[in-house]
């Protein structure tokens, strides 16, 4: 088991899981708010094509959560505007 944080809350994940999958497993479905209308978005294509699940990982914005593996101690934050 791996421990990471999402919006400041500690969550667990399985080794090798994507950030998006780890979040879905905890029923966390919003990875970002859109930059024009501020609407919530989450995983859509699940395979790195659509860029809807963008998220901030360890301070770096615009990361595709569906194709980024979660790592121990990762700091994940929903992105406001992308």
């Amino acid at each position: 088991m791996i421990t990471f944080t999402f919006n400041g809350v500690e969550l667990t994940a399985r080794e090798g899981q994507s950030v998006a999958a780890a979040l879905i497993a905890h029923n966390e479905r919003i990875s970002r708010l859109t930059r024009i209308s501020g609407k919530p978005r989450g995983i859509f294509c699940g395979i790195g094509v659509c860029f809807d699940c963008l998220i901030i990982i360890d301070g770096k914005p615009n990361q595709r959560s569906c194709i980024t593996e979660v790592k121990e101690g990762m700091v994940v934050v929903a992105q406001d505007g992308a």
């Binding site: 978005r41 989450g42 294509c45 094509v49 992308a82």
Partner: protein, 455 residues
């Protein structure tokens, strides 16, 4: 860093794996590139954890045998996590740029696969609405069930393994919604029966769904999604539809996930960047044109560029394996007899074309749209805006619509919307082909460009 290889294969799914294997067995030194951390592509997805039950998978044994053979082959070097952002021909060679340098070859095999085709409808941007492929990749690749009450919808045989996979791993599927009729396949029964393995696979899924008492609706489609006060998916509107997608009546289903797939769109980005000849297939998707040896047509006739699998037309793993094998042997310049492989390919192709006919998507989904419905998810361009520029400013092709509304200019570079925009504007084939052209294949930072000395 520069990597030179005799043969380079892009894509580690069924077509790419088989291409690499056959080219290596014919004596070539091969590099196999894939953007994912693990081989298998979208079809043989797996968690990569040995103790895990990979029975989520149909046909996984065949996949793991092939993957093991490729990994063990000393002539094949595997480059996982390798995303190509540019492909060009320089001094008579193909140069592929990725995050850690360039790959160079004069013999290239493209097996870049496909992704779900999505059709827009009001509310399809609400978190919880996802592609059928997303639900499948969460289950097969991650061991996660996408939600608590899942609707699987759209059209085509792929909906069955998705719904049955979720059900047999303890998830609750509250409806399978198929746009085609229950017996839509009946007129094609003779062709279908020539592929008994596929028929029994399909029956297996249906049996699983029956046992779990999953409701299956035919001639129905999800035409709207609704969010709760938390902004997440709460329910969907399902319409009973006729063959042209006219709505006759509607009902609603409470769910937290709607996994919707309307077949697949080939990912021809690398082929397009290389200027390979493309054409529009019978299902309306843009595919790479190939000859009987899977060779693509390039203005640089000295190059040997091949394409195999879904990018030459959606057809499933059997067809991909046959095409990959032929491409691998042809790229290696092998003189071995391709007759058996070509026979296999012909049979698989016939089956694929039959399924495309049975599950063809008619024009008519446009009727579900309201002026507020998002068409381009990245740039949040709605149907009203596209209608506006088309009616008032004569934007009758995707490029004009894009310049005036920004549709297709966002991060996914039109991968999700370009086909739908082309449908909305009734674009001719030439526009559809132009619409999938992206000089930069994957978004990169200016820093990455500068590092490679390209700025």
């Amino acid at each position: 860093m520069e990597h030179r290889h005799q043969v380079i294969v892009i894509g580690g799914g069924p077509a790419g794996l088989n291409a690499a294997k056959y080219a290596a067995n014919a004596g070539c030194e091969v590099a196999l590139l894939d953007s994912a951390p693990r081989l298998g592509g979208q079809y043989w997805r797996h968690t990569g954890i040995e103790s895990d039950d990979q029975s989520r998978h149909h046909n996984f044994d065949q996949g793991s045998l092939l993957m093991d053979a490729v990994i063990a082959n000393p002539r094949i070097t595997i480059y996982p996590n390798t995303t190509i952002w540019s492909a060009s021909v320089i001094n008579g060679e193909v140069v592929l740029r990725c995050q850690d340098g360039a790959f160079i070859t004069s013999r290239l095999i493209l097996a870049t696969g496909a992704y779900d085709r999505s059709l827009p409808f009001p509310g399809w941007d609400i978190p919880g609405v996802m592609t059928a492929g997303a639900a499948q990749s969460l289950l097969k690749g991650q061991g996660v069930i996408a939600g608590k009450r899942i609707v699987v919808a759209g059209s085509g045989p792929f909906l069955l393994p998705v719904a049955s996979g979720i059900t047999s791993h303890g998830g609750k599927v509250v409806g399978v919604i198929e746009a085609a009729g229950r017996f839509a396949w009946l007129p094609e029964i003779l062709t279908l029966l020539q592929n008994p393995a596929k028929i029994s696979e399909g029956l297996g899924y249906i049996l699983t769904l029956r046992k779990a008492k999953v409701e299956m609706g035919f001639k129905q489609a999800v035409v709207a999604a609704h969010a709760g006060s938390d902004g997440l998916l709460e329910s969907i509107t399902v319409a009973n539809i006729d063959a042209e997608f006219h709505t006759t009546s509607t009902y609603s289903i409470k769910c937290d996930v709607a996994a919707i797939g309307w077949g697949f769109t080939p990912d021809t980005s690398v082929a397009g960047a290389l200027g390979l000849k493309e054409e529009v297939a019978v299902d309306g998707s843009v595919v790479v044109a190939v000859d009987e040896n899977q060779r693509a047509s390039s203005a640089h006739s000295e190059l040997h560029i091949f394409a195999a699998g879904e990018i030459t037309g959606i057809g499933g793993s059997g067809l991909s394996l046959a095409e990959g094998a032929i491409a691998g042997l042809a790229a290696a310049g092998s003189r071995s007899n391709l007759r058996e492989l070509k026979k296999l390919r012909r049979k698989a192709k016939r089956f694929a074309l039959t399924l495309q006919r049975v599950y063809s998507i008619p024009e008519g989904w446009q009727r579900w749209l309201t002026p507020e419905t998002i068409i381009c998810r990245c740039e949040e361009v709605n149907y009203g805006a596209i209608q506006d520029v088309s009616e008032k400013f004569g934007a009758d092709d995707a490029r004009s619509a894009k310049l005036m509304t920004r549709c297709g200019m966002g991060m996914c570079q039109g991968r999700i919307c370009s086909r739908n925009v082309a449908d909305l504007l009734n674009s001719p084939d030439s526009d559809r082909i132009k619409g999938v052209y992206r000089p930069i294949i994957t978004p990169i930072t200016l820093g990455e460009l500068a590092r490679d000395g390209l700025l």
